[in-house]
Symmetry: C2
Subunit: 225 residues, 2 copies
DNA sequence: CGAAAAGTTGAACTGAATCAATGCCGGTGG
DNA sequence: CCACCGGCATTGATTCAGTTCAACTTTTCG
């Protein structure tokens, strides 16, 4: 995340293989040794793990502009998988090409390091979300975060964006049952905080939603002093 | 984490200021701009955030050998605080000295990058823990993780180690009430899985405890192919 | 058009929170 | 040396948020 439009363009240019991927397809499986970095250009993907029971937990959403596994060079086997949640447009960048790109474009190198810090900040915020907030607030917080992240890549305006995932996908990220996600959404609608029909989401009163979720976007901008 | 004894020695040598710190003292506050990296040499510290309600959530434990905020150079304000959970021995390393060290000791530079990847892997595992496991299993999983991490720095043998934190501190990391932590510990004791008296913890039957918590230590070794 | 997937709702159940009391030290000062 | 105090651990009783199961509706898509 946090790549400017021009950076994205440079990335798109270099990555030979830009390909569409169906929904619910693994981009990297658990246990594999990644040889390429992956950029999500369109659609939503996620990092996830399976419990032995078969239950899946989503540890991160990857939205357009997100690049993952820049550190592939240091990585051994993946301790988790990456898979699509919707139809996606995905670019794969061989490690060599990526290293070269980072040398030639210091701004990209810096952006990637910042993106990594942002991803860590998001993970920490998700821990707080799971650890301390009731379900309704968790959902609201997620919606606020995604709004900010999608705005940064021009995919949201005026509180509106496309959320191309199912309620079950949200449930697996927020640690509640899909049934309860459904009920939480109902509450958010009834409180007049959000409008969600099909895949299009609108936050009706951003300050109010943010206050409700106790959302502060600062963690999404680690570079700001 | 993941620093060898010799690396630690090199680090201790370079860091001019090694100082003891009391329990419940902030090493870095939220909103500050860090100018030094911090190494925990003894005791437990943590990364945490406060909700406006005053509730604290712990997002990571820092145990002996853990170094944090290596990326201080890219960081603006901290989005969270770091504080001690027990009396600690702490070293502070100015950024300049750290950069120099990393240039002179490539093995340390590599170790630090790996340590960072490990910290991310731990955060992901904690997300799974909070998102999918009931309280008793969360506690067991945490105990397994700490055992592995402490063994790596010679602070645990045969399933035994010192856990210098309160039940409330565990509660704040695991997203359950302190009362329920207490009851979960009781269950673990009754099942003959752990022995916990005062601050000394023993995992009685490691394979069994690991199976119970569905703990797989692989995520703590990102370097292993 | 029909089937499958996703969303919605109700009812019963349960893990965990909360509140409140009590017990257990370890330290400190008279 | 003992009494007291404060922080931590333990336990019971009650309440509640969230799960589970199951039915049913709506949407999506071949």
């Amino acid at each position: 995340m946090c790549l400017s439009a021009s950076d994205c363009a440079a990335l798109e240019q270099i990555s030979a293989s830009v390909c569409p991927v169906e929904r619910n397809v693994d981009l990297i499986r658990e246990g594999e040794v990644p040889t390429e970095a992956i950029v999500v250009l369109d659609g939503f993907a996620c990092r996830y793990k399976h419990r032995v029971s078969g239950a899946r937990h989503i540890m991160a959403y990857l939205v357009p502009g997100d690049l993952c596994d820049v550190d592939a060079s240091y990585l051994g086997r993946m301790d988790h998988a990456i898979g699509t949640l919707s139809a996606c447009l995905v670019a794969r960048i061989p490690r060599d090409a990526l290293s070269e790109l980072m040398e030639q474009h210091p701004s990209i190198a810096r952006a990637l390091r910042l993106a990594k810090l942002t991803e860590e900040a998001i993970a920490r915020e998700w821990l707080v979300n799971l650890g301390t907030r009731p379900a309704v607030e968790r959902v609201a917080h997620l919606f606020c975060e995604l709004l900010t992240r999608l705005e940064a890549v021009g995919r949201a305006q005026e509180g509106c964006y496309t959320l191309p995932i199912t309620q079950a996908d949200m449930a697996e990220a927020l640690g509640v049952s899909n049934v309860h996600i459904n009920r939480s959404l109902k509450v958010l609608r009834q409180q007049g905080l959000v409008e969600l029909r099909g895949r299009s989401l609108k936050l009706l009163n951003l300050p109010e939603v943010r206050a409700f979720a106790e959302f502060n976007p600062d963690y999404l901008y680690p570079s700001r002093g």
